[in-house]
């Protein structure tokens, strides 16, 4: 199959331009917030927030409001509950996260049912759960970009205190870091990131954009800032690459293109495999010291 993409035609399409802008913003924010999330071992919490936000997205269709508000509201509320509980032990935390996740998805099931029966919004379920980048309304773009800017600014502000906190909460506290305030700020940035991600690739796949590029970058980078930059490049590359391929796919199966989310998630998965292969090559990683002995 040949690439029949015409660049001017591609960029002249308004849905494409909106997808590039909102998708790019989501990818950037998810990469930066995702690195911190993976380092704090909160990947499961990130996944749960994304899934729970689907209840908000479904409610937005029911109330006929901007779906980003729905995703945002629900993700922020769930993040607040999970941080407010302030559970230190990992197992307890996972249990709470699982319970919140279950409750949120149950609510989403009810609201999606109402979307279909009461409001007769066809395809709401697919859009909420799996995303539909080419149908994002233009009215969302300024809000989406503002949300992205706030999340990036918050991540930059708490950059150093969050790094110390991920080493050890006590270590950070002894240094004068306000550990709970930092954790709460990160949880809210995480909520903003997953709701943007849910808006673009859907609530179910939002984790892929959050965790995938970060996990790939953390396999290769030795420093926190280079990890964030690398994750951003992978996320942007996969998102924009996915949009190009989805646009292209209209010509593969004439009349209906393939879902953008599929391409984005597949590209991220490939990036993760490639990063693993690169990290596994000898010389790219310093060898671990198996014993406690060291040189003089």
């Amino acid at each position: 199959m040949s690439l029949v993409l015409s660049v001017p035609g591609f960029l002249a399409s308004e849905p494409v331009r909106i997808a590039l802008a909102v998708g790019g913003g989501a990818a950037l924010v998810c990469a930066v917030v995702g690195c911190a999330t993976v380092m704090r071992r909160q990947s499961f919490a990130g996944h749960a927030l994304a899934d729970v936000s689907s209840a908000g997205g479904s409610a937005a269709y029911l109330l006929a409001v901007n779906p980003l508000f729905g995703f945002l509201g629900m993700a922020a509320a769930a993040a607040g509950v999970m941080e407010w509980a302030d559970i230190r032990e990992a197992r307890e935390r996972d249990l709470l996260t699982g319970v919140v996740l279950g409750a949120g998805l149950g609510l989403a099931a009810l609201l999606l049912y109402f979307d279909a029966t009461v409001r007769s919004v066809s395809g709401a379920a697919v859009t909420v759960l799996f995303g539909s980048m080419f149908t994002i309304p233009a009215s969302i773009v300024p809000l989406a970009l503002a949300v992205a800017a706030v999340a990036l600014a918050a991540s930059a502000i708490i950059h150093r205190p969050l790094l110390v906190s991920s080493l050890s909460a006590d270590l950070a506290r002894a240094q004068g870091v306000r550990v709970r305030a930092v954790a709460l700020t990160h949880a809210l940035a995480l909520a903003l990131a997953v709701s943007l991600s849910a808006m673009t690739v859907g609530a179910i796949l939002a984790t892929a954009l959050l965790i995938g590029p970060a996990a790939a970058a953390l396999r290769l980078a030795k420093r926190p800032v280079s990890a964030a930059v690398l994750a951003a490049l992978i996320g942007l590359g996969a998102t924009w690459g996915g949009i190009v391929l989805a646009y292209e796919s209209f010509y593969w199966t004439p009349g209906h293109g393939w879902p953008v989310s599929f391409f984005i998630v597949t590209l991220i998965f490939c990036a993760y495999l490639i990063a693993g292969w690169m990290a596994g090559r000898p010389g790219t990683r310093p060898a671990a010291h198996p014993s406690g002995c060291e040189g003089p």
């Binding site: 690195c35 993976v38 380092m39 071992r41 930059a156 502000i157 708490i158 950059h159 150093r160 205190p161 790094l163 110390v164 991920s166 080493l167 050890s168 006590d170 270590l171 950070a172 506290r173 002894a174 240094q175 004068g176 870091v177 953390l218 396999r219 980078a221 030795k222 420093r223 926190p224 800032v225 280079s226 990890a227 990683r285 310093p286 060898a287 671990a288 010291h289 014993s291 406690g292 002995c293 060291e294 040189g295």
Partner: protein, 274 residues
């Protein structure tokens, strides 16, 4: 002790956690540059005492005074127990030390020559310069301890607290870390309070010992404190302080008879009960 050389004064401190009395009337002082072991078995209150000094737990009674220069937040150097440094963390040894310098500040760090110089100097002081560029999670236990000590000392605190820093280290790394801390406490004029369940690696280095049992403490020079009468009175039952092949062992009466018998019977093959 003059007030100017005082680094830490713990005065009749009592702490209760969840209704249980964990520390009872604990008192001792540390002077600048002193190296002090905080000795006790698991559950004797060592970690709680360190956390009380850091201000993490509320005192039920008593008070804790610090040197004036270290009363601001975050001016106590601290190496917590059992930090799991994940091999996946994208932090080099150098980055961890830099976070000790200004990790509480907001915003990303801007490149600065003065900052790099201070970090280099600290890495040099703990002998960590040669692995400064490696991911900290891939270093050995002894190397990680050096990095954490550098993290704690880079702001030149007057007081350095270490919670079981010798746990999980092999014999050689243990001796090296003790010697390092002993030297740094003198060079930097910082009082070092280090908790351990085994006092033996610290005996050659300690200026002072705080011995904790069941939440009560005795403090003083090691030869004053580690004695049969003193520790028996602290434990509330008879214990023997036994010296076997240069090691000091504190044992309950019955076990000590067995040790004496074993030493008398076969002096070459004695295993000390820690």
């Amino acid at each position: 002790m003059t007030d100017s050389s005082m680094a830490l004064a713990v005065e009749q401190v009592c702490v209760a956690l969840g209704g249980r009395r964990v520390l009872r009337d604990v008192s001792f002082c540390l002077e600048a540059g002193e190296f002090c072991g905080l000795i006790g078995s698991n559950g004797s209150g060592k970690t709680t005492l360190l956390r009380a000094i850091l201000g993490f737990v509320r005192l039920e009674a008593g008070r804790i005074r610090l040197a004036e220069q270290s009363t601001g937040t975050g001016l106590i150097g601290y190496v917590p127990q059992k930090i799991a440094l994940d091999p996946g963390l994208p932090l080099r040894a150098r980055d961890v030390v830099a976070l000790g310098l200004d990790g509480a500040r907001l915003g990303p760090a801007l490149p600065s020559r003065a900052r790099t110089a201070r970090v280099d100097e600290m890495l040099q002081a703990v002998g960590a310069l040669e692995f400064a560029e490696q991911r900290v999670g891939l270093l050995s236990g002894g190397q990680q301890q050096r990095v954490l000590v550098a993290h704690a000392l880079v702001r030149r605190p007057r007081l350095l607290l270490l919670d079981e820093p010798l746990a999980n280290l092999d014999v050689r790394s243990t001796a090296e870390i003790v010697a390092l801390l002993r030297r740094l406490s003198r060079e930097y004029g910082a009082a070092v309070l280090l908790s351990a369940h085994d006092m033996n690696p610290l005996l050659p280095a300690m200026d002072r010992v705080v011995y904790l049992a069941n939440g009560s403490a005795v403090a003083g020079r090691a030869d004053e404190v580690v004695r049969t009468e003193v520790l028996s009175s602290l434990y509330g039952y008879h214990v023997d302080v036994v010296r076997v092949h240069g090691r000091v062992v504190v044992v309950a009466a019955e076990a000590s008879e067995q040790i004496h018998a074993a030493v008398a019977h076969n002096p070459e093959h004695t295993t000390a009960v820690p």
